[in-house]
């Protein structure tokens, strides 16, 4: 194990602590209402949804954590992948047919490779340890889904607005790959800009989630920093590769077999 979590126990807020935290919600909602801002309903819904969703996930993961089997971890990650693929497709306006399944498959592939490499080799968590696989998997999926859907949306936009360019290139004997070079480069840059920007300011403007969580869990700050570096590289890899793969698949979906544009 190259990096090791310090196992100092984190204090449990307990159900009473949860109730006390709920008071904070009550205070902010009451304050808003007192000032004549009608946010009561929304505040209630947000409070209930946060509580229910997180407790439900907590229960499910508690159950999975107690088993530590590849099958259960894979089942949870597979469900998350399907939701991510479906959500990502929803972020693209008037998508090409087949984008949803393509996105899901790309995310599944990137998740499997990245997660196994990082958990088994980089972090050194041997075997099906849900404590590493589920949180890392969730981070990979969330980020890769954002990057892939940004790439897909921008590619669609570029092909729609640059249709003359693509047709002109095809008419001069370009392959679809050659005809979409510019659109692909722009889409890839658009997809990776948030990731790169985050890498530039990380630790200076804000302390990222993994590092914060580890310090709350009692870890040494330097060790937490190392973990965060691993996470940043892991996310850059999964974002970049999923954006590239989605663009590769899209460029097949965007043309007929006779190289006629579908957008």
């Amino acid at each position: 194990m190259i990096l090791r979590l310090a196992a100092a126990p984190l204090l449990d807020p307990g159900w009473s602590g949860l109730a006390l935290a709920g008071l904070l919600m009550l205070v902010v909602v009451v304050l808003a209402t007192a000032l004549g801002i009608r946010m009561l309903r929304l505040g209630l819904v947000a409070t209930v949804r946060t509580t229910v969703q997180l407790l439900a996930v907590g229960f499910v993961l508690q159950w999975v954590f107690a088993r530590s089997s590849w099958a259960w971890i894979a089942a949870v990650l597979a469900l998350m992948t399907c939701v991510a693929g479906w959500t990502g497709r929803g972020r693209v306006e008037r998508p090409l047919r087949g984008l949803g399944p393509a996105l899901t498959l790309v995310l599944a592939g990137v998740l499997a490779v990245t997660l196994l490499y990082v958990s088994q080799l980089v972090v050194g968590a041997r075997g099906p340890d849900p404590r590493y696989l589920i949180p890392l998997g969730g981070m990979i999926l969330g980020n890769a889904m954002t990057a892939a859907s940004l790439a897909a949306a921008r590619f669609h936009d570029e092909l729609r607005s640059g249709r003359d360019l693509v047709e002109a290139a095809l008419g001069l004997g370009a392959t679809p790959w050659q005809a979409t070079a510019q659109a692909r480069a722009r889409a890839f840059r658009a997809a990776l800009t948030p990731t790169v920007n985050a890498m530039l300011i990380v630790g200076i403007v804000k302390l990222p989630g993994v590092m914060t969580g580890q310090m709350l869990g009692g870890a040494d700050p330097l060790q937490a920093a190392k973990y965060q570096i691993v996470v940043m590289f892991m996310l850059a890899f999964s974002d970049g590769v999923s954006a590239l793969l989605v663009l590769k698949v899209l460029q097949r979906l965007a043309f007929t077999r006779a190289w006629q544009p579908r957008l």
Binding site: L96, E167, A168
Partner: protein, 287 residues
């Protein structure tokens, strides 16, 4: 042997949109864009295509290098059905230059040589100079930023780019659209010499009958999805052939010329008026 041939081609609007992600946007998809169109253009020959705006002229050109599939009938290049051609080879053999000038970015030299580089060739500076000369841009520096060229210069650069591929068939969609009458005539004249000396066939969509004088050859008219002609270019220029539909079409062009208010007596002026009239008519059609 015809360099390019269409045999009883029909194209339904619905088939133009099939497989497109935006197909639900289309209205009137059952209409026929082309209805039984047959034509042929010999090696080294020229066929001008005139007709109503939105009447399928661009679709007709796209059939010849398989950017569009016919719903019925077939398209042949060198008497070989286009589906039997390997794809990049077909589109380098029969090159399409679209209506709007398109810039791929970079210098004039980059713009010119990109399609050749797609084909895995690096054209010599001499060949770049030669094609620039054909389109009347012989004095243009190869290092110049292509984005800074005027609209007319970019149109001509787009044509030069196609010539560099040494095609056997040129499919030109309104190559003179952004040029004045005199420049258009000079361009078509030099292009004609270039093409005849190499035996290159030309299918030229144009909205101005005046281009026929410089193009020569024959002209067809695409009216209501049906093809009329071919007629010798001279016959069209001398008041129009006997076909009543063609006469009526040429008549509307003449009226558009009067509407444009530029009938100032001199013949070149009248020609340019016809061009402008026809073009403003097309914009209404597109709006």
């Amino acid at each position: 042997m015809a360099a390019v041939r269409l045999e009883a081609v029909r194209v339904r609007a619905a088939d133009l949109l099939r497989g497109r992600a935006d197909a639900e946007d289309a209205a009137g998809a059952e209409a026929l864009v082309l209805d039984g169109v047959s034509l042929a253009c010999e090696e080294g020959g020229v066929l001008a295509v005139l007709g109503e705006s939105g009447g399928g002229k661009s679709t007709l050109l796209r059939l010849c290098n398989r950017l569009v599939e016919p719903s019925a009938g077939r398209a042949l290049v060198e008497e070989r059905p286009v589906e039997e051609w390997p794809l990049p080879a077909l589109r380098r053999h029969a090159v399409l230059v679209g209506q709007r000038a398109v810039s791929f970015g970079g210098s004039v030299g980059d713009e010119l040589s990109l399609p050749a580089r797609w084909a895995g060739r690096t054209p010599s500076e001499e060949s770049l100079r030669e094609v620039l000369g054909v389109v009347g841009l012989g004095r243009l520096s190869l290092e110049r930023d292509a984005a800074r060229l005027s609209g007319g210069e970019r149109t001509r650069l787009g044509l030069a780019r196609a010539l560099l591929l040494e095609p056997r068939v040129l499919l030109l969609d309104e190559p003179t659209g952004s040029l004045d009458v005199r420049t258009a005539r000079e361009l078509l004249g030099r292009l004609g010499e270039w093409a005849r000396s190499r035996g290159v066939a030309r299918l030229v969509v144009t909205h101005r009958p005046a281009d026929l004088a410089a193009l020569g050859g024959r002209a067809v008219f695409l009216l209501g999805g049906r093809l009329h002609g071919p007629f010798p270019a001279d016959a069209v220029l001398d008041g129009g052939p006997a076909d009543p539909a063609v006469r009526a079409f040429l008549g509307t062009l003449g009226r558009a010329e009067e509407d444009a208010g530029s009938a100032n007596g001199a013949e070149p002026g009248a020609e340019s008026g016809a061009g402008r009239g026809a073009r403003s008519g097309r914009r209404e059609g597109e709006a």
